[in-house]
Symmetry: C2
DNA sequence: CTGTTAGCGCGTTCAG
DNA sequence: CTGAACGCGCTAACAG
């Protein structure tokens, strides 16, 4: 394997100037077809691969974006949603010619906003995707507000100047899932297990549920399950008995609730939210919104591209289909 | 936010030469303490963040590595093992000052080796981590053989010149898991559900099982489950009846086997391999090796660093602990 | 110990 | 339509 050829070598072989090669590579106008052919031939012959580093330095555009997700790297616990976020963004970024570096919250949680900015700047990051921003992430929020980077918030919060927001309409989604479960079971007294008070998404879902309760004239009890299976289980033990249905703000909590009910040996309809496959493995089937989180980050990358090419921030609400989950490729 | 300051600005403000600043930044010897202080002060004042792009161009060292994993991005199926690979590598790479770009097999499966090489070269990749290389990945294997990049194979295959290999001793691990299950249950007739013939890891495990069968004088039936839960289930229906135990080459297949047994309403001891949390959700508990795959890629990043700093390829066998899995933080 | 200088590979005027 | 020339921000000799 010969050492990498540079644009200079190509120019020499093709008998043209460096700038001409550059133009050909980027398909700029103003180069004769004949010259183009000669240049392409030379490229192939030398196995020329443009140097993105040099290009970035010269053009001052790195085409690099960062994905910040909340994967818990301490425990071996895994998180299907995060994984889908990651997969979608990674694939889409490549498709659109962006370089994607993934950053876990845990890697930056000990930094202050200035350090986080430096961290990203050093790496030439121009835009950032943040999934599931919580109110607790104070420093990260300051990073967003600093406007140093173009930012797209995924399932997170509102938008401002250079920031876009994207995700399903949490309020509406929660209402639709819950409504179906409630009507199907003619439920009146509902235990709602919310996430926590710091998550924007959880807050919206809760709001949705509260609205629905008023609208349908339900008796609603709200408790916080912290997105934890265990906590949801405990809450169910405590409060499910005199309720007609349990609505959970996440699938994992729904699993916890379901298990508690099984142990209590009583039946109550339960509904979840995300629509993760794990549910099938847990042997459960319930109403959820059938989200594909990788689609959301795919859209988010597109949105970030918009921001980076000069457009302004906005709020994008993605489609969500409310269908009873089908576990076609899973045994059960 | 003022525009990013460059090393030149710092030099000017500190009243020193550019090269001096550079030396200070990299903590090179031969700079007086006083000068250092002045430079650092200037950095802080200007909020100087070194430009890694420019540095890379000049030094010809990008400090960028790629992680290639086999995450299936078509379906929404998720893969705990892959996720752990990913998490470990991402975290460790950052710790060691490497940039990590993650690449899914599906992104490059349609490319030939030359295109893959270009793809990585364009991005300035110097070293590559490949998880779970299979014999089917012909083009990728050619990339490895081309020696263009330093490569560490994780749970994959053997080493050569600039290539290292890392992973548990699949043969031994399979033997230990199986042996315990077999002894505990005084089993004689074993159904072994292997992965497939293309995976190096699966092949090694199978070899281990075959050795063990000879050693313990077992009656062994080998079938290929393709790492699929469904297939393992079918095989179990077909062959489990007159067997004393079922040994599976992966946890997912073990789940499939277990479910088949439940449907058949017969009991047979089953053992898995990886030790994934999903098992607990599936409501099962069985012998596995308790691997932490993120530890493996962490070690792999260290190994890649060794290669990149001039050492030669080798085979590293990581520790594995054979313990009965404990699902402490999972309800059941 | 410190400063000067010549690139790294490419993008981009701006004359020819 | 083409090419010379400069600069991006930094590194690495080398010279003082």
């Amino acid at each position: 394997m010969p050492p990498r050829a540079s644009i200079k070598d190509v120019a020499a072989l093709a008998g043209v100037a460096i700038s001409t090669v550059s133009k050909v590579m980027k398909d700029y106008p103003g180069v004769s077809q004949e010259t183009k052919d000669r240049v392409w031939a030379a490229c192939r012959e030398l196995n020329f691969v443009p140097n993105a580093i040099a290009s970035a330095l010269s053009s001052k555009s790195t085409k690099r974006i960062a994905l910040i997700v909340n994967l818990n790297t301490e425990t071996t616990a895994f998180d299907e949603v995060t994984m889908q976020y990651l997969a979608g963004a990674t694939v889409k970024a490549r498709e659109m010619g962006y370089e994607l570096i993934t950053v876990f919250m845990s890697m930056i949680s000990h930094m202050n906003s200035r350090e986080i900015i430096s961290y990203l700047q050093v790496r030439g990051v121009e835009g950032v995707l943040i999934c599931g921003l919580s109110k607790n992430d104070k420093e990260l929020i300051r990073v967003v507000d600093s406007q140093v980077f173009k930012v797209v918030l995924v399932d997170g919060a509102v938008s401002s100047g250079s920031t876009s927001s994207i995700g399903v309409d949490q309020r509406l989604a929660q209402q639709e899932v819950a409504r179906r479960t409630i009507i199907d079971n003619k439920a009146k007294r509902i235990l709602y297990i919310a996430g926590n008070k710091n998550s924007f998404a959880s807050e919206e879902r809760q709001r949705g549920m509260e609205e629905l309760a008023r609208e349908m004239n339900l008796k609603l009890m709200v408790r916080y399950g912290d997105f934890s299976e265990k906590k949801a289980r405990e809450l169910t033990f405590l409060y499910a008995k005199n309720k007609d249905a349990i609505v959970c703000s996440s699938d994992l909590m729904a699993i916890g609730a379901m298990r508690a009910l099984m142990e209590m040996d009583i039946f109550r309809p339960v509904c979840g939210f995300d629509g993760i496959i794990l549910m099938a493995y847990a042997g459960m089937q319930m109403n959820t919104i059938a989200q594909n989180f990788s689609d959301i980050t795919k859209q988010a990358v597109e949105e970030l591209d918009r921001l980076l090419t000069g457009h302004s921030g906005r709020i994008v609400v993605t489609d969500h289909e409310l269908v009873r989950m089908k576990y076609t490729d899973v045994i059960r």
